[in-house]
């Protein structure tokens, strides 16, 4: 094993040893960090679940603006092809999906409570349609695109869910911003907690640091265990935040199940995606390291052998 790796292993084991030796303080710190991180993480998970709910097929809503372009039953082939070409080449269109009238009927049948109604129909009353997701944000540009599509000979009717989308997008934007602000504020708190913990640790180990410097330890060697300590503390807090979010969502899901059932639907608040959970752990570890880095940079230079 190279000396560099051995020093890192030594620093990591030393930091773990300190956490073990000061178990109750370490648990309390992790708890404070965990609660602080659980709030924005939980909010993020709730928002993601709501997005999933409103974007689900049949939900009739989306946080992204959407145009439903219904086609005339008697439209001629060249007219249909001209419309398809326009949708595929228009730079304002992000995605255009053709939904045949048969597919639309199937989708309708799949909606809870409508199967019997659809079965009672003598014929399929639904038209062929294009579902268009524009690049443009809800606003005048979207209205202009809807107008142009309306003018196409193959088109019977264009339904722009711009108002609904605009409101929903605005609400989601506010929620995202609130979560981001909360996360930033609590991240600052986490850095401050780690900063103070490491400061106290440095003061406790003052004699050891002074002696180590006297007998040839480099600043990097002295700093390293504190960095590991900060990062481990952040990681422990991040892990605890995940547990708290999972527990909180599980508790909420008991009530959500009943509510969804009363609408004849099934819906559950989902836990963070694996990538998001990993990102939370990485972020919490990084913030712990940052707090340690700031503390060590501030206080370690003050300790010099005399």
């Amino acid at each position: 094993m190279s000396a560099w790796l051995r020093h890192h292993r030594q620093a990591l084991l030393g930091a773990l040893g300190k956490l073990r030796a000061q178990r109750s303080a370490a648990v309390l710190n992790a708890l404070v960090i965990g609660i602080a991180l659980a709030l924005p993480a939980g909010g993020y998970a709730l928002l993601a679940s709501v997005r999933t709910l409103v974007s689900a097929p049949g939900a009739g809503a989306s946080l992204d603006p959407q145009l439903s372009v219904f086609l005339r039953a008697e439209a001629k082939r060249p007219e249909l092809e001209a419309l398809a070409r326009k949708l595929q080449s228009d730079p304002r269109v992000r995605e255009a999906r053709f939904v045949s009238r048969e597919q639309a009927l199937k989708d309708l049948q799949a909606v809870e409570g409508l199967a019997e109604v659809v079965a009672a129909l003598n014929r399929n009353p639904l038209p062929d349609a294009w579902v268009v997701r524009p690049r443009a944000a809800p606003g005048t540009e979207l209205e202009a695109l809807a107008g142009e599509l309306r003018a196409q000979p193959a088109v019977a009717h264009v339904e722009a869910d711009a108002v609904w989308a605009r409101r929903l997008a605005a609400l989601a934007g506010i929620a995202r911003l609130a979560i981001a602000l909360l996360a930033a504020l609590l991240a600052f708190g986490l850095v401050a907690i780690t900063f103070n913990t490491i400061r106290l640790q440095i003061l406790t180990q003052r004699a050891e640091i002074e002696i180590s410097k006297l007998i040839g330890a480099t600043d990097a060697f002295i700093r390293r265990p504190f960095f590991y300590l900060g990062a481990l503390q952040g990681l422990a807090g991040g892990g605890l935040a995940l547990v708290l979010v999972w527990g909180g969502l599980a508790a909420l899901n008991a009530g959500v199940d009943d509510l969804a059932a009363s609408y004849g639907a099934s819906f559950r608040l989902a836990f963070l995606a694996p990538g998001d959970a990993l990102a939370l752990l990485f972020f919490s570890g990084f913030l712990g390291w940052l707090g340690a880095y700031l503390s060590v940079s501030r206080y370690l230079l003050e300790i010099e052998p005399r």
């Binding site: 030594q10 002696i211 480099t218």
Partner: protein, 217 residues
């Protein structure tokens, strides 16, 4: 090996601890820095170990100008020095063995080699059987021997000791000096500060006599 040329040290507040000090200690030499309390002995040793920087003049240790060393280079200078203090500066939350392992953990040695060297250093100072003990369980003389074991574990070329026998009885003090003499026999340059003239008389070596910061001719 150690060379002072016109060295002065003035502390903030104006106190002049050393004035125009010039001397040299050759490789493998044994030297005492003698003088009363406040004569500047500790300051002189601190300048060698780069704990203090000279206000004027040049301090050369192993060919390096200590006054001009960058902060990052100081640990590497100190790894070639073995430092022993009057108050031992031991870590009392660790075992005797772990105290000696401390300087060995900074370097490139493998864990096994570092442990071997730590045990060898403890054997040399007669503490081989006490490696698991806590330093508080040791007598004053044993604690000082432990400090010497830690200082020599890295096999330094120079051993610096600042009043290592000040708190010890005559027998324990003589034993400590015998250990220094033994290391000097194998080529280690030794610089010991003391105010104990009787002790100096019992060991052969160069004597640098300081009085109020000035080196007597």
């Amino acid at each position: 090996m150690i060379s002072f040329s016109g060295v002065a040290k003035r502390y903030p507040g104006g106190h002049e601890a050393l004035r125009g000090v010039s001397f040299s200690v050759a490789e493998g030499e044994f030297a005492f820095v003698a003088g009363h309390s406040g004569a500047g002995k500790s300051t002189l040793l601190k300048l060698v170990a780069a704990i203090e920087r000279p206000s004027a003049g040049a301090v050369l240790v192993n060919g390096q100008n200590v006054g001009a060393l960058k902060r990052a280079a100081i640990p590497y200078l100190r790894r070639n020095l073995g430092l022993v203090f009057q108050d031992q500066k031991l870590l009392y939350d660790r075992s005797v063995f772990d105290n000696v392992m401390l300087p060995l953990s900074f370097g490139e040695l493998s864990g096994r080699e570092a442990a071997r060297r730590a045990r060898a250093a403890l054997e040399k100072v007669g503490l081989g059987a006490r490696e698991k003990a806590n330093p508080v369980q040791l007598s004053g003389g044993e604690q000082q021997r432990l400090a010497i074991a830690r200082a020599v574990a890295n096999r330094p070329a120079i051993l610096l000791a600042d009043e290592p026998t000040a708190n010890l009885d005559a027998d324990a003090a003589a034993k400590i000096l015998e250990i220094f003499a033994a290391f000097n026999q194998v080529g280690v340059t030794v610089l010991v500060s003391t105010h104990d003239e009787a002790l100096i008389g019992r060991f052969a070596g160069k004597v640098l006599r300081l009085s109020q910061g000035i080196l007597a001719s």
